[in-house]
Amino acid sequence: MSALVHSLKTFGSQQLSAFQFKNLLMPLLGIVVFLFVWQVGAERINTSLGKFPGPVAVYEQWTGLLADHQRERSKEQSFYERQEKRNADRVAKDPNYVPKVREYTGKPTFFDQIFTSLYTVLAGFGLATLIAIPLGIVIGLNSMIYSALNPIIQIFKPVSPLAWLPLVTMVVSATYVSADPMFSKSFLTSMFTVTMCCMWPTLINTAVGVAAIEKDLLNVSKVLRLSWLTHVIKIVIPSSMPMMFTGLRLSLGIAWMVLIAAEMLAQNPGLGKFVWDEFQNGSSNSLGRIMVAVIMIGFIGFLLDRAMLFTQRHFSWDKTQVLR
């Protein structure tokens, strides 16, 4: 092993710097070892749907899904072209004809599902943030309200999305009745479930951050006789910003996990449904496709977290703070 490390170190003509070694080569090495173990391990697992997919099989499924997506898109395009042409012809024959435009109703591809999941998670997370931050500030500032709400928060915090889902589904079906709905019910169900499950870390961290403001700064605010609103904007929010972001990052991570579970259980469009459909399909490709989805879910979760980190860096007043 040390010989391997050494040869990696001196790989190429010039010696790699310690930084490059640690930050480029080591992660690469980790991935290579992981792929190797995966490939070897996968070959030994036999399921009723064939061998467990190794990296190569998963890559093949990935290209397959990509091709599916492109095929579906070109089908969609030609559908609209045909429709347009048909309508144009009919209008040419009969000027009074009002052209009908129908939506293409093809099966959503893997990439459509990713897109659905992404905007659902962002909507749910956004709603949770809009509730959790103001509420967190209020309970952080007022220990009376905190004492009143704390038991409720503590009880609802550990509830699994799967427990909320039936309730949310029933409530959304019962209350969201509209002839021409702006949002689909499945979207709302997924979104509200995400909101219910992911708001807690932001709420609690905001409250803790607000309650932990330095006493000196509070005294400054008192001496200046800042109004409540100025106090919140100028002192409370900037001061609790780091804790808020810690909460937001935890919340976003939970939101993404919850969403996939909710989509699977409720058969709501998204990556969760994709996984479930493939599982029900039970073709020889299914396991590979599920594995593609698994990796994609992980990758998107990672990107969401990075995006949050960059947002934090952008908004943080303390540029010296080490953020990971």
């Binding site: 005294n219 001496v223 200046l224 900037p238 303390d318």
Partner: protein, 280 residues
């Protein structure tokens, strides 16, 4: 006429073991433009007196009159310079002063006047060059200067300083003391300053108020410092009057009010009182 009248002030803090009387019958009258130091051992309630004048604590008995009006709650006319600068770390020096100026002079000064006033106060403490720097980018002494500028910018009738130079190294401290004397000469503010430092007290003050040890601390002795201003620390070092004042304060602190504390016991100071209040 008395500008600030601290009259029969006592305060009790509730603790799990019953109430703790920190101050008992503190009386002090301060004239306009007077510079008064409060000196005493840790835990004698110096900071508590200051916090009562600031309005951050409420006296259990007695009260504070400022120009004949009772002090209720904190306010910018009794600006405080805190020991740890307490600048808002997300604002620049300029913005920190601006926050105070906007609050105090809202509707009284135009935008331009406010800007000039902010710059004038930064100029007073020689901090215009770092107006756009955040507290994390400047040194401890500079932060304290900005803290003083912020307090001065409120045009307080009493300036309260809670060990303003306590956290600084000796050289920076001497430098800031000189600056403070200079500002004091120009503005002739009424100042109450808490200090641990005997030299600082004698150098800066018109009167030194020496406090007895707590619990139930009160004013022990008051020393009038009758030294010509402007005062020069080097010239004063050998001045017999200065040496005598210094000796008087030292005698009070180390003979009359000698504090015997077991080494193993954690030091109790003003901070622990703060905690008591915070927990209650």
């Amino acid at each position: 006429m008395t500008h600030l009248d601290i009259s029969k002030v006592s305060i009790e803090f509730p603790t799990p073991k019953g109430s703790f009387k920190a101050l008992d019958g503190v009386n002090l009258k301060i004239d306009k433009g007077e510079f008064v130091s409060l000196i005493g051992h840790s835990g004698c309630g110096k900071s508590t007196v200051l916090n009562i004048v600031a309005g951050l604590y409420d006296a259990t008995e007695g009260g504070v009159l400022l120009d004949g009006k009772e002090v209720r709650g904190p306010g910018p006319e009794r600006a405080v310079v805190f020991q740890n600068h307490s600048l808002l770390p997300w604002l620049t020096s300029y913005e920190n002063v601006e926050l105070a100026v906007k609050q105090v002079f809202k509707g009284k000064k135009s935008k331009k006047e406010m800007h000039d006033w902010i710059m004038h106060n930064l100029e007073l403490v020689h901090m215009t060059h770092a107006a756009d720097k955040r507290p994390s980018e400047i040194s401890g002494g500079m932060k304290q200067r900005v803290g003083i500028a912020r307090a001065l910018a409120m045009e307080p009738s009493v300036l309260l300083m809670d060990e303003p130079f306590g956290a600084l190294d000796a050289l920076t401290r001497a430098h800031l003391q000189d600056s403070l004397m200079e500002i004091q000469r120009d503005l002739n503010n009424t100042v109450i300053m808490i200090t641990h430092d005997v030299d600082e007290a004698v150098l800066l003050s018109d009167r030194i108020v020496m406090m007895t040890n707590g619990p139930a601390a009160t004013v022990g002795e008051i020393l009038h410092v009758d030294l010509e201003r402007p005062r020069d620390r080097l010239a004063l070092a050998d001045d017999p009057k200065y040496v005598d004042y210094r000796a008087q304060v030292l005698t009070f602190l180390y003979e009359k009010q000698r504090k015997v504390e077991p080494i193993s016991k954690p030091k109790k100071d003003a901070k622990s009182e703060d905690k008591l209040v915070a927990n209650s």
